[in-house]
Symmetry: C2
Subunit: 351 residues, 2 copies
Amino acid sequence: MTLDQRKKNRVTLLDVARHAGVSRATASLVIRKSPLVGADTRARVEASMEELGYVYNMGAARLRADRSLTIGVVIPNLTNPFFAELLAGIETVIDAAGMVVILVNSGDQVGRQDMLMTRMREHGVDGIILCPAAGTGEGLLERLGEWHLPLVQVLRRVSDQVDYAGVDYAQGMRQAVDHLSELGHREIAFAVHGPVHSAYEERVEGFRQAMQAKGLGAEKVVRVPHQISAIVDAAHLFSEGPTASTAVICFNDVVALGLSAGLYDLGIQVGRDFSLIGFDDVADADAMRPRLTSVSTFPEAIGEGAANLLLDRLAHPEIGPRKLVKATKLQIRQSSAPWRGGDHDLRTARG
Amino acid sequence: MTLDQRKKNRVTLLDVARHAGVSRATASLVIRKSPLVGADTRARVEASMEELGYVYNMGAARLRADRSLTIGVVIPNLTNPFFAELLAGIETVIDAAGMVVILVNSGDQVGRQDMLMTRMREHGVDGIILCPAAGTGEGLLERLGEWHLPLVQVLRRVSDQVDYAGVDYAQGMRQAVDHLSELGHREIAFAVHGPVHSAYEERVEGFRQAMQAKGLGAEKVVRVPHQISAIVDAAHLFSEGPTASTAVICFNDVVALGLSAGLYDLGIQVGRDFSLIGFDDVADADAMRPRLTSVSTFPEAIGEGAANLLLDRLAHPEIGPRKLVKATKLQIRQSSAPWRGGDHDLRTARG
DNA sequence: GCAGCGCTTTGGATCGATCTAATTGGGTTG
DNA sequence: CAACCCAATTAGATCGATCCAAAGCGCTGC
């Protein structure tokens, strides 16, 4: 019914051409804004298109021309607001280029990711922006290379042979550690969570190096649960026992939000008795109380950068792999405060 | 270069068929898992596909079969975590159906939305899930109808003649008002923001009716700014002046978060001196301090519902328009507390 | 022996655009 | 006036799958 209708109603280029008294080829040239057609012919064809209600059929064009004006975006987890912002940045640039985003969610599972890659390929995307699932091997990227499918890695890096857009996590860690160090803190912990991937390792490694550079011990890398509600209950890890500290740098703002709540529940006043630094600086950071000091990583800008990298690659397949590593910026707010020596009521009772 | 390579390397169904010693038609049947082909033939063709590294070409199939296994999703604003969760729900269901999501962002602008609709159509999507931009008229939907392009409205309703998946906002408002009323509050405000659309109006209207049902005045509908940082500064509207109140219901959790921070800055203790109720119950609500009482609207479930509605519609174009209105649930936490009469330090000094 | 019947298989047309190479018509040149 | 050029236009092949109608084949039943 509907399908038949649609089929019957469909106006093709041939219809337009006939209506305008030209050939299919000429009509095609008009659509593609070729300078070859005469001005009057162009006008006549455009009028016919308008009158008949012609709709361009990308599908047919793609088959012949072997490009789809479509790019695939593979993201591990849509629910994370960080990735949502990243995606917004990607979409903006791709859209402005007249292309369209096909979005899939890998759930951070390598197997699913492989399957989705194949699906993208079947759909004929012109390129892919991939935030690789934790555990992705170089094999996948090599395969992509064999397929001659342009690819940009974003946020997580698997191979140096492929374009990459990401964040200078080491710098961000340095900024956070230096800030706390200047405030007088020496017992600084790093609260991590989530799957292990390059971005994870870069942050941990950045923490280690920044701590060492300040002559501080970097052994307090503490894993907390993934769910925010469970993070809240893990706050005691930083107030007592072997990993007790006076300041905590968080893997991201979700962890910071959770710990902030947990420390509050323990009666510890963040921003006075205890310092907390987040990572990513999502919109909520500024609306928390105390306001969260956080390292901005500008997810939307990263998304835009990744998309531009891919567009460049489509235009110039021959150039070597490129990296786009964005600088971070420490947003100092209320949750980080000078170390108060031994005179506060923090129950760090260790040794 | 790359393109030529890709072209040359491309294995087509014809190659597979030749390799397996069958016709193109038979190979096609194998791909589509038709029961018509014999078991041994099927095995042989599948082996050939494997050996040659065949990749299905959706583009070609779509042209002939006039379906793309692709659906368009039009969202007003990706950055809002609420929409991100909605999108996650949609993606899950669409993916499970073996289809793929083409995502675009209307920026809540009707003009852009129109343009994007056309683009979706050119890309040959099988259907569209649309959260209409504020100000969308019925005209757009009528046009869609003429195009015979299956559509589901989500969250915001423009026409009753088209499928819709959304939330029972009136019920949610009733739950919030009843809860506050039982706690003894009588001066209850509704803090709204953002563009005006059906969901907006349903909430306001729901608030009015729920207040009236309790014999309370519903004139305190107060607009606050859109940006969260500005919302913080609007908190005084509820602590003093003509719209001062003892409890505020918020348009969504973003408003609640902002007001919570703003009231804190004013020295007003939410959950003791003042009650606050959010709307949507995003993940952060439980991690705020005080924990935010909020009306759950289950965005991910709505997304799943909308996607299922669309899949049903694709399967049965003939059935009449359907509605899927999901119930809300009030999550009572710490930010709502009994009215403390006149004995507290809230500076409501009015009249 | 052959009509009839499932089960499988197939050739050829087809979807709607793009690409290639060729054609047209008007003007310029030697 | 033939030769040539340039801009504008076009016929026909083509992309890679699907659809349709028809046919091959092994068997049964009369």
